[in-house]
Structure formats: structure tokens, C-alpha cells
Symmetry: C2
Subunit: 592 residues, 2 copies
């Protein structure tokens, strides 16, 4: 069975020494997040995910979900206790407002728990994960009655949430949505249509399921300007909060998927289901985007999470498996062979995954902290600055960390040789599970277009200029430090390439938008490499400040490795971006 | 159901215009391979794989193999007719000697068929594929009696072959093999032990199965110098060729794998099974390497094959799926949206896969042709030169084309969005199937070490120098051609980087072998990019010579695309190689 140990020490280093959580005590909820509280939360999160969740992962993949003849869906048997333990621990409400039953702690801590939980069991983590997205959308756009009706039960975890966007003929292009909403005359609507790929759409973990559904009100304008958001509970809710009649929404079938077998991915049929408008008529996309942005960051976290657990298992195997001898002489002379971790190609693989994972975690937690600032700071300028960073980094966190998360799961699987290809070690599952993160909540090509086509130019480039300024300032401030120089030098070079690429788009994509499209994916990854490089430089500085403490010397080695082995890719990315779209688009469609 | 159309026109272009098969008519068997014969063979190969094989792929994955209580194994129902059609077409003997019932045609044509068959159904193609490897080993090392007993039936395809190397505790490190062979006193041996991951180990497609097994004769020296090769038939064979008693070898269980579900991957138990020594005592590894090298090239072909069929399906979907509008204005104004092939990021993806696939096919067929020359030429110098190329390119073809084949299958799957993640479109299967090619017949890290640690320095670097010389000469000869200049320029630059990396190893890896290990994978891929780039330059030249013929203009666009989008990676690879092993190896094993 796969091993998993939550990265508590890594996370503590990031929260305390890199992000310096204690300097934000003036933000609501942060004063309560004392170092002791944070330590206790990390410990509890580790305990739950290591002992209750992780053992359910492999069996859940094997067992999968079953749709019963009555349309109900049975999740893997082991999921029930694991989910119950999560609810009883109050984890769904960790950062939710106290008036809803939450603890109002920083959502940064919630992000930490998302990582641990997704490492331990991604398919299971998706159930509460979608609930948290639905909570976020209802908090912003729900009416007071809707909030009172749904949120306390969702924050408690006894009801769950879903998001219903995709239809058979449309995923990315939501303007094509056909699901219809007809006013019932009593303020409610009757929804009819088919939604597909609905994660956690039907299951047996909670008493009720709160579906958020995009649909078109009869007579609404065509395209995205005619889409509204509705809340459609599985069971109608009485005024006293009791569960009433079964609503006209049901699971038509389960998808047979490559991975995340423990999550019920449903075709949902809406047959005149009763729903209520959330937010304004025809403004459904904007409302859903609250949930989408939340979800995109969470998916980026999933990419890291699977890479982390895959890495841990690769390390375990690399220390255990005896095969061949070190190129520099036997390291296990009394054994029949050396453990494969002595081989440079194995070591290179492990170092690569780890250098990416630690930087990804740092950037994710930094982004989560900006989300806290954006939502909680009393200072409008601070909120704006944090929102800028959040918007800019959302496609990077989602697109880059899921692409790399999958790559890293594949790399970790490779360490096992043939044993990685059979299901019993769990490495195949990590790869199959990680694959979905590159697709859902906006395929990564869409993330790249969001970054290049929307986020770069937004507000006259304010967000991207602020980011460049921050990295530049760090380089200037620390470039003279001899210990940091081997790290800051390559970072500055990477930043220079990112700035060149940005300039190239400004000069070449305005008049020929295909130039933006053809370079978007490379640009997103270039951006990610520089942003991760910046985090390594910041981590290296924090490690130097704690010189001699356990693990700090490792940080400096990993930072150097990142600059030697990962940052050089930026040169290739810049070259590809600067090649433009001409050759890419030269052939007619018929030539394919 | 997935689509598949064998790339007949591409292959004809390569055989006729690029490799100029007709100039080798002096080689045995080549005179018979007239353009008309080759065209007819390609047409028949296409017909068989498209109509008989491809429809069995998805159902074979779903159905998988079943081990029955008596130890027999049932393959997917649809495989029987497909395999029979292959046998009846005489495909197993396409390039086998006539005295064994073969047609003695160039093995280059056999490689073509391997590609088509592996695209149509990789799991099924592995059954005859392993038979061909076993035939190769027996042809070189088998006694006259062994050849007479086994080869005609194997060439016919009514018996199949396997290779039994791996044991639970050893795969790469074959010196640790424990399977024991005890002389029976009558010239035969009794073999006892357990082999794992045995592809096609037990099945119902053929009347007999001929196992080639590595084992240690009682009292043999420890390590690789004490390994011998044995032939162990499932049913003992009488002097008249009739099948006799069931031998003491059986399938203990089937592995539950990520993919290639239609191939029976067996744990094989040898319980005093009767076997006969193949070749010399304690020289089993050398004998098995005949089969291994054959198999490694075939696995490289599999990488291409899966990438090709995945590409074709991605193209089909990209032309069919309507989603969003072109950045340059609607291309399908009367429809609800444009086909996604209008989007530059989709186009970039398709162009990338295709630019890799066509170059990979060119290099594979060129390598296969060298194999023909090495085996058939009467001229010792020509044979030596061909053998040098073959040895050098074997790890490149295996390692690079399986890594890229998997990447390309993943890229193709991504084009489908969520529809790529569900099993019904077949894209998940391509990814899951392609994954094994990076692992079996020597994991790709081992291929990289074979290239860097053995092939580079062999015979004073004769093979690599010849290759550099060939590419250099091409660049010198054609650099002045204005039409080729945008292709030759970047090729020369890539070659320069490869030469620099080679020099770096010469200067830094002799004294510190870890420097070779830490750079090996990057070097293998750098080598592959330059070798593929060379093939693009050669193809571009051939296309210019046929200017105006169908498809020739596309070749020039693809060659340019390759140089703009793929070749820049060589800069990053060189930088990583030159970083050396110091940082990679800096942490102690306990720090992981």
C-alpha cells in the first residue's frame, strides 16, 4: 500500500519563516492563528489524512462508485468513515465565518488541508472540495434566505455541493448551454436539461446535495449574456430546514474514467427540477466564476498534492529497491546490490520532483495568503494589490502545477520500473488521478489563454508589472549576497526572458492575435518557472536566516538545483514564443 | 470508437524518396521488394490493421485477459480472428528466411508492419512481436536441432515466443537472477524458479508457446557471468514435431496493469520444467541481447505507433468538435461555433505531435534499413558501418520515441477535454498503453546509460563520430540552398550543442562517472532531437526534389516548425548536462 506522510515541517517553514504569518495578525481571524494553533492544526490535519484517509485511496480506486437501479450512487465502503471523521473534525468550516458555524481561521490553512487531503485521497477530497466552492459562490451571490437555508449545513459538511456547467456539446464554450429554466410563477424555476461530467453529482456521503446549475431562462439573450445561475437541492428544504420531497434531478449514469474512480462523475438529468435564481438574471457566469476561481486554485493544489505523495513513494522505493551498483563504488557492499537511490539518474528525478513541489507549495500558500488579504484586509489598496496577484496567479497555479504534477507523478512511477505499471503499488493510480487535474475547471490551454489574453493586459498590465517589480526588487536587494548569488543570478536571467516574452506579445499579438494563442502555453510555463524560481530565492534567503536549523542546508541545495536544472528551460520557451504563429498556422485544416 | 488509418503515403515517401529503397537492390531480398511489391504490401498491411485489428482495440482493453482455474489464460474474444488473419497473411514470416517458410523480404518492411499493427492494437501486436524476438535469438544462437524444431512453426505463427528475464527482486540487474537449471543427464535441464512481468506468457492464440528463459546452472559463477539461456516449450515437442506432454511451466497469476489489458502479463512458475541450453553455458546474457536489441527497436516503434493513432484521433476530434471562435474571426459562421482546430494552441499541439511522429518514423525506418544492411550486405565495411549506426541508435529509438510517444498520447488526449478522460473515446487507453513502452525492455533511464556509458565510447567513438560526420556533411552540402537554409541552420546549431555535450562528457565524466549519470537522460533526448532534426532536413530536401507533388509543401512547413519549436530545447538540455552531478548528488540519501 502506498505511503503518505503529510509535509508538516515543510509547511511550517513556509507559513512561519517564508510567509511570516505572524505579521498579518491585524487581519480578521489571523490573530487566532497563533504559531501554537497552526502547529496543532497541522498535526491534526496530518493525523486525519495519514491514518484515516490515505488507507482508503487504493481500495477506493479498485472499488469505484456504483450507480444502483434506483439512480442512487454508492461510493467505496471505506469512504464513509473517512468522510465522517473529516466532518467531525470541523474541517469544512475551518476558514468559514463563525456565524455559519465555521472557525474563521485563515483560508491559507484550508489550502494546507486541501493539499494533505488530496495527497491522501484525491477522489474523496473532491467531495468536500466542491462543497467549499459552492459555499464560496453562495456567500457572494446567494440571497440572505439562500444563505440561511444552505450554508450552515454545507459548512458543517452534512450537505455537499456541486457545480453543473458542462453539457454534451459544450464545456469551454458556455455560451452554448441549452439547459432551460422556466419560471414557476412562485419565484422558483423549473430546470430541464442534461449536464455531464458532474463530479460528486450523486453519492451517499451526505444527507442532501446542493447543485449550482447554469441554465438559460426562457427568452434570455443568446450566448453567455443569457446564462443564469440556479441552486437546485437534491431534496427540497422546508422552512424549518427539514428535508422534503425529492427534486427532479437525478444521476442518469456514471462515467467510466481513467482515474478518480472513487469520485462519482455523473450525467445529471434535470427533469423540471425546482431551482432558485442565485444572483441576477443572465449574470450567471459571473456568479459561477467565484466558484470557478476558487476551484482553479484548488485544482492547482491537487496537482501538487498528487506529485507530493507520488514523490514520497518513489523515495521509499528508491531507498528499498536493490539493483545495480553505484558508479562510484558499492554503497551497500554487504548486500547483493545498492539501493537505486545511489544512481544519478534516479537522484536527478527525485531532486527534480522535489524542487518543483517545494516551490509550488510556496507559491500556492503565498497565493492563498493573498486571497485572505483580498477578502479580509480593511485597507482597499492592500485588497487591490492582493486581488491583482490572485487573478494573475490563478491560471499559473492551475495550469502549471497540474501539468507538472502529472509529469512528476509519471516520473515517480518510472522509478518503480515494471512495478510502477501494475496497480498494486498505487503509482498507476497517482498518474491516472493526476491526469484529470490538467483537464477539469478549464483545460490548461484555456488557463494559458486566460493568462495571455486577459490577465496580462488587465488594468493596463498593473498586476504583471507589480509582479515583475517584486522579483526585480528582490534580485537587486540580494544580488550582492555571495550565498544567494548562484540563485539570484539565474532568477534574474529567467525574469529577463519572461519580460522579453511579455514585450514580444505586446509588439506582436495586438495586431495578430494568433501570435498570442500559439505562444500561450509556453508563456504560462515560463511564467510558472520564474514565479517558482522567485519562491526558491525567497526560501533560500529564509533558510540562510535560520542557518544551522534542521533542513535549512537542503533548501540551499534544492534552490541551486532548481536554477541549474529547471530554469534553463526558460530559454527554450522564449525561443518558441518568439517563433510566432506563422508556421503553426500555415497548413490548412484539411492538411491534417 | 477510435479511428485509424495506416500512414501509407507517409511510409511510401520515406521508403522511396527518402531512403531510396531501390538503390539497395543488390542486397539479398531487396530485389524482390520492387516498388509495386512494396506498394501492395503496404496496402495489405493497411487493410489488415485498419479493418481487422483496430476494431478489437477498445473492446480488448475492456475485456482484458482472464486466468482460468486450470491456469490457462483466455485472451479477449475478438483477438482470435484478428490474430488468425495475421497468421494467414504470412506477416510473421515477412522478412524471415525462405527455408523457414518466410518471404525473406527486407526487415524494414516488417518494421512498417510493426508500426501499423501496434497503432491498431498494441496489446495484440505484442504476441507476434515477442515471437519475432524469440525467432531472432534462436536463429543466431540456437542449435540446428532447435532451429528445426521451433522456427518453422514460429515463423508460421502457430507457435509463439516469450522472453523470461525479470524476477521479483531483479529486472535491470540480471546478475541477481535466481532461477535454477539442473542437468537431467540427457542433455536437458530441469528449471525451477519464478519469473514475473512475462508478456504473452500464457494465452490461447497459439498451439504452443516457446519460452526463452534466463537461468543459472547449478554451480555457475555468481553475477552476470553465470547466466545461461534456455528454451522451454509449453508442450514438449516430439521428434516428428508433434506436441507431447505439458511441460512444468505455468502461469501463476496475471498482473493487474495500467494498460495493455489485452496482453497476458504473467507470473510464470517453473517447477522442474524441461529446458534445453541455447548457445553456450554462462553466455546467456549475450544470447538474450540479440532478442533484447530486436525488442528495443520494436518498442521504440510502439512509442511512435501509439502517438500516431492518438494523433489521428485528436485530428478527427479537433475538426469535429465545435467550441469557441477563431481569434481571427469566425471560420464556421453558420454553425454555433468553430471547430477547435482553428485555435492556435490546438494547432500547435497537433503540429508538435506530427513533427515528432514523422521524424521518428523516418529515423526508425532508416535504422531498420541499417539492420538489413548489417545482416545482409556482402561488404564487411558496409556491415560494420550499419552495425555501428544500429548500436548507437537503439537506445535513442527506444528511449526517446517512447518518452515522446507517451507525451504525444497525453497531448492528443488533452485535445478532447473531459471526453479524453472517459474511456469510451479510447484516448485514455492510448495513454495507459503507451506508458509501458517507457518501462519494458529496459527502462528509459537504462537506455540513457547504455548510450552514454557504452555506446558513445565504443570503438573509440567510431559510431558517434560517423553520425556527427554525416550530419555535418549534410549541413555543409545544403547550407547554401536558400530553401533549405531555415532548416539546415537550426540543425547545425543543434548538432553543435550535441557535440559540446559530448565533449563535456569526455572532459568531465571519465574522472567523475556521476557526471555521466546525471546528464544521461538529457543527453539521450538531445541526441534524439538532433537525429530527428537531421531526418527533417533530409525529408525537406527530398520534398523539394518532388516540388508540386501532393503533400510535399507540408513537409517543408513541418520541417520549419520542428526547427522553430522542437530544436530550441537542445539549449536547455546542454545547460542541464553541463551543470554536472554536484548539486544532484549533494544531499545524503537520508535527506530524501
Amino acid at each position: 500500500m502506498p505511503v503518505y506522510k503529510a509535509p508538516v515541517a515543510e509547511t511550517s517553514f513556509l507559513l512561519n519563516d517564508v510567509l511570516k504569518l505572524d505579521t498579518y495578525a491585524d487581519l480578521p481571524g489571523f490573530a487566532e492563528a497563533t504559531p501554537d494553533t497552526v502547529a496543532a492544526i497541522l498535526e491534526e490535519a496530518a493525523k486525519l489524512t495519514e491514518t484515516s484517509w490515505a488507507p482508503t485511496n487504493l481500495v477506493g480506486d479498485k472499488e469505484g462508485c456504483v450507480r444502483n437501479p434506483d439512480g442512487s450512487v454508492t461510493t467505496p465502503a471505506a469512504f464513509k468513515d473517512a468522510y465522517r471523521a473529516y466532518v467531525e473534525g470541523g474541517w469544512l468550516g475551518l476558514s468559514a465565518p463563525e456565524e455559519l458555524g465555521g472557525q474563521n481561521l485563515p483560508s491559507t490553512l484550508n489550502t494546507v488541508m486541501q493539499e494533505f487531503a488530496s495527497s491522501a485521497n484525491l477522489a474523496l477530497a473532491m467531495y468536500p472540495g466542491l462543497t467549499q466552492g459552492a459555499i464560496a459562490a453562495l456567500m457572494v451571490h446567494g440571497s440572505p434566505e439562500q444563505k440561511a437555508t444552505y450554508l450552515p449545513k454545507m459548512v458543517e459538511g452534512v450537505w455537499s455541493g456541486t457545480m453543473n456547467l458542462t453539457e454534451p456539446h459544450c464545456g469551454t464554450d458556455l455560451g452554448m448551454i441549452k439547459t432551460k429554466a422556466v419560471p414557476n410563477g412562485d419565484g422558483s424555476y423549473a430546470l430541464s436539461g442534461t449536464k455531464i461530467f458532474i463530479s460528486s453529482g450523486e453519492h451517499d456521503l451526505t444527507e442532501n446535495i446542493v447543485h449550482l446549475v447554469l441554465a438559460r431562462i426562457e427568452g434570455a439573450p443568446a450566448g453567455t449574456k443569457g446564462i443564469s445561475l440556479f441552486v437546485v437541492p437534491k431534496f427540497l428544504v422546508g422552512e424549518d430546514g427539514s428535508l422534503g420531497a425529492r427534486n427532479g434531478v437525478s444521476c442518469g449514469s456514471l462515467e467510466h474514467k481513467m482515474g478518480i474512480h472513487g469520485n462519482a462523475t455523473c450525467v445529471m438529468n434535470y427533469d423540471g427540477a425546482t431551482g432558485w435564481l442565485v444572483g441576477e438574471e443572465n449574470r450567471g457566469l459571473a456568479a459561477m466564476f467565484v466558484m470557478m476561481n476558487e476551484a482553479r486554485l484548488a485544482v492547482g493544489v491537487q496537482g501538487l498534492a498528487v506529485a507530493e505523495v507520488a514523490y514520497q513513494n518513489a523515495v521509499f522505493y528508491a531507498k528499498d529497491r536493490l539493483q545495480g551498483r553505484s558508479l562510484t563504488g558499492p554503497k551497500n557492499p554487504d548486500g547483493p546490490a545498492d539501493p537505486i537511490i545511489v544512481h544519478p539518474d534516479v537522484r536527478r528525478t527525485l531532486m527534480t520532483i522535489r524542487a518543483i513541489n517545494e516551490a509550488a507549495r510556496a507559491l500556492i500558500l503565498k497565493t492563498a495568503l493573498q486571497s485572505d488579504i483580498a477578502h479580509r484586509s480593511p485597507d482597499p489598496a492592500a485588497r487591490q494589490k492582493a486581488l491583482d496577484f490572485l487573478g494573475l496567479m490563478t491560471p499559473v497555479v492551475k495550469g502549471v502545477f497540474t501539468d507538472l504534477g502529472f509529469d512528476n507523478a509519471v516520473k515517480a512511477q518510472q522509478m518503480f520500473g515494471g512495478h510502477g505499471y501494475v496497480e498494486e503499488w498505487g503509482m498507476s493510480q497517482f498518474v491516472r488521478d493526476a491526469r484529470i487535474t490538467m483537464i477539469y475547471e478549464g483545460a490548461n490551454g484555456i488557463q494559458a489563454m486566460d493568462l495571455v489574453g486577459r490577465k496580462l493586459a488587465k488594468d493596463g498590465g498593473r498586476a504583471v508589472m507589480a509582479f515583475f517589480g517584486e522579483v526585480e526588487a528582490f534580485c537587486k536587494e540580494n544580488g550582492g549576497d555571495a550565498a544567494l548569488q548562484p540563485i539570484v543570478g539565474p532568477l534574474a536571467e529567467g525574469l529577463g526572458r519572461l519580460q522579453q516574452a511579455t514585450m514580444w506579445f505586446m509588439n506582436n499579438a495586438m495586431t495578430k492575435p494568433d501570435n498570442a494563442g500559439a505562444g500561450a502555453t509556453d508563456y504560462m510555463h515560463l511564467f510558472g518557472l520564474v514565479a517558482m524560481g522567485h519562491m526558491w530565492a525567497v526560501m533560500a534567503k529564509a533558510a540562510l536566516a535560520k542557518e544551522g536549523a534542521p533542513g535549512m542546508a537542503e533548501k540551499l541545495v534544492l534552490a541551486r538545483f532548481y536554477m541549474e536544472r529547471l530554469m534553463p528551460e526558460t530559454a527554450a520557451q522564449l525561443a518558441r514564443i518568439s517563433a510566432g504563429a506563422e508556421t503553426t498556422m500555415a497548413l490548412p485544416a484539411e492538411a491534417f
